[in-house]
Symmetry: C4
Subunit: 230 residues, 4 copies
């Protein structure tokens, strides 16, 4: 068994879960995972149909983007993933989808405010929207610049407390403590985006009170969390 | 066989039905049941995935919240359930979900008016929204206070005739004459919330005439009911 | 084999198709069929769960509402069905549901205009909405009066050319040349109601030109129809 | 084996995929394929239920509409398909559906602007809407004139770069380099139409910057494409 099999298997399974959860059709999504001990990431190959994909098709790269192992081209979004791993030190998995509800907000250029406790259970504040990339950023190293503009968006935000972002005009990225946790956060983001849309229609866009946001977030996260079996 | 097996089995099955009906993803929901003869409730354990849950995992507590039987921590929402059982004397099952349509109304801070006979078949009047909890109520005994604010909302309402509530900024609770009946009401609430949303969009938010509301509610409930096999 | 077995089987199958097509949950719907040679209708029994229903549970009645055969109470909506069969001479099947999109229009008190050719393929003009029933009509013989108000709505309309109606504040009824055809029309109504809702949101509520409505309707219906295998 | 078996099989499979993908109910859709070497198209027969259809039921016609092989009547939309094949020289498959989201835009008489990169990955600019057909065009040779008005809509557009159109008041047509690719484009159109609807509701209808549209389209199409395994 190769030295990266466990990482590949985990990333493969998380990619497959994206389709099972209805977050992607065709090849429209990718998951990567990062193993800091080995100093490598595994990522979905570019443009391969989920139904034909095998764990061994995952591509292994170092954080500079050099392919370490794999016969296929990595996802074209790989430079975005790498930029996030280089800057968000605690994350171990990243998901990119064009999931329909989160992408609708991204297309509309709007951050998703914390309208309810479902949101607050996972995201400590709004899910931000990036600024628009400039013509220059798009025409040269587009995928790397997508990563940079995400990092810029988190200059004053904690990516561990807000594990998703909407790239303006494009679609969401989510991340987490593992590939599986990143998929979990992507599923939640989609659910929250769907309900927030209805807040707009129901004409009440008042965010949660800060004390309720605090309560729900810290009920599930941090040293005083008391949700779950502990 | 233990003395609480029947209650646990019933509560387990109702918890599983929540996922089958599409009202919960992950661990986002819980059902409890109350047996007044034994003086105990059974409730879903906290943060356990539905796919791994067994009937024996249900936790047994008395109405004061003392654990009578069970190895796992009960749902973190247990104090809310207990407060409702202590105050709504006829109810035997309670459901809490973040089901997407009812939660959208809860997030928008709006009661669901009785726009049609589907609503009137189950809810004798609007499904009310609680007031916002205060900072103090949230920071101390949050889940108990959630129960108290629900009870307060029903000061002038009959919980048997309106078996659901929306907790402002949070999500719905439903109840009924059994865990199974509570799930049934939660499914109806979701359906009614979805259709009421469209009333808003179609710009007709006029509630049913009282005489039609009466007709449909009492066609199915009370001594003159004539729906079903009698 | 009893003399009504064929009718019962056909009505049973059409009732089951309602759930398969997603038009009903729980017991919220009913189909009947009319055999003019035998002078009877078969209809779903009241409040029986679809999963436990058998063909032999269908109730046989004459057009005056006398039960001819059957151990169970007929649907509480039976008087509505009978009134329609007595007045719409060519129909052989009737469907009542609370299907979510058509019911949303019914709750909003709005007829569904013919916004597109999908509508025109089945309904020669808008799907009308009834007037509100009066207090007296609701309190006495409610279900019969529901039938009467539908018939009144078609005073100047041809029920064969517009095989559905929305009962204001309540839900749709559809009919057709057989129980199966009535279900087909109910499915189409739901589809058309869903798309028409989006016309409202997209702020273009201009009905089809009459000549295009004519073209599509008569492409599929009447002596010059040329759709299908002929 | 007959000389057209491969074409029939391919067109049959693509017709079946339409239902699997949820783009059609009943008989509401058709796919054709064109083989320029044999100079014929294969198309779905008119009004045949998908569940009963066999590959051998596909009808073979030449580009003038003469039936070359087949016992059934071809789709009533055949003249539209033929007009498109005669004018859009590179296309090898055509799909017509009444898929709910794209049809909603067609009914609303609105082109779908390129609001996001999902759109730009497949459509180089807005998905256009045709003008309304005149009374004369509808009453004589309606299906042929539908084709002509689509061709007219592309007078200044490249059908290879924008492989879909909305026929005003009616529904979409999509095409591609094969029947399968045409279905793929129809699925994407539906997804894009759904998300664009939400842009309207979220009140941001600003199209993508041209440089971002260019980037995404040419990342996947043309000589500099770098998406996929190449």
């Amino acid at each position: 068994m190769g030295m990266y099999e466990q990482l590949k298997q985990s990333v493969y399974e998380s990619n497959m879960e994206l389709t099972d959860r209805g977050l992607v059709i065709f090849t429209w999504g990718n998951v990567s995972g990062y193993d800091p001990d080995q100093g490598v990431i595994a990522i979905k190959p570019s443009g391969v149909e989920y139904e034909h994909m095998k764990p061994g098709d995952m591509v292994i790269l170092d954080l500079e983007g050099n392919v370490i192992e794999g016969d296929l081209k990595p996802s074209s979004d790989t430079p975005t993933h790498l930029e996030l791993y280089r800057n968000f030190k605690n994350i171990r998995g990243i998901v990119h989808t064009h999931s329909e509800w989160a992408t609708s907000w991204a297309q509309a250029g709007r951050a998703i405010p914390p309208f309810g406790t479902t949101h607050a259970d996972y995201f400590y504040g709004e899910v931000p929207i990036t600024r628009e990339l400039t013509k220059e950023e798009v025409e040269t190293s587009y995928e790397l610049n997508t990563g940079k503009v995400i990092v810029e968006t988190f200059n004053d935000l904690d990516p561990d407390a807000v594990p998703s972002v909407l790239v303006k005009g494009h679609a969401p990225f989510s991340w987490g403590t593992s590939p599986d946790n990143a998929v979990h956060n992507a599923v939640v983001l989609e659910y929250v985006a769907k309900m927030a849309f209805r807040n707009v229609v129901l004409e009440n866009e008042k965010p949660l009170e800060q004390y309720l946001l605090d309560k729900h977030y810290f009920r599930k996260h941090g040293k005083d969390a008391y949700y779950g079996q502990g």
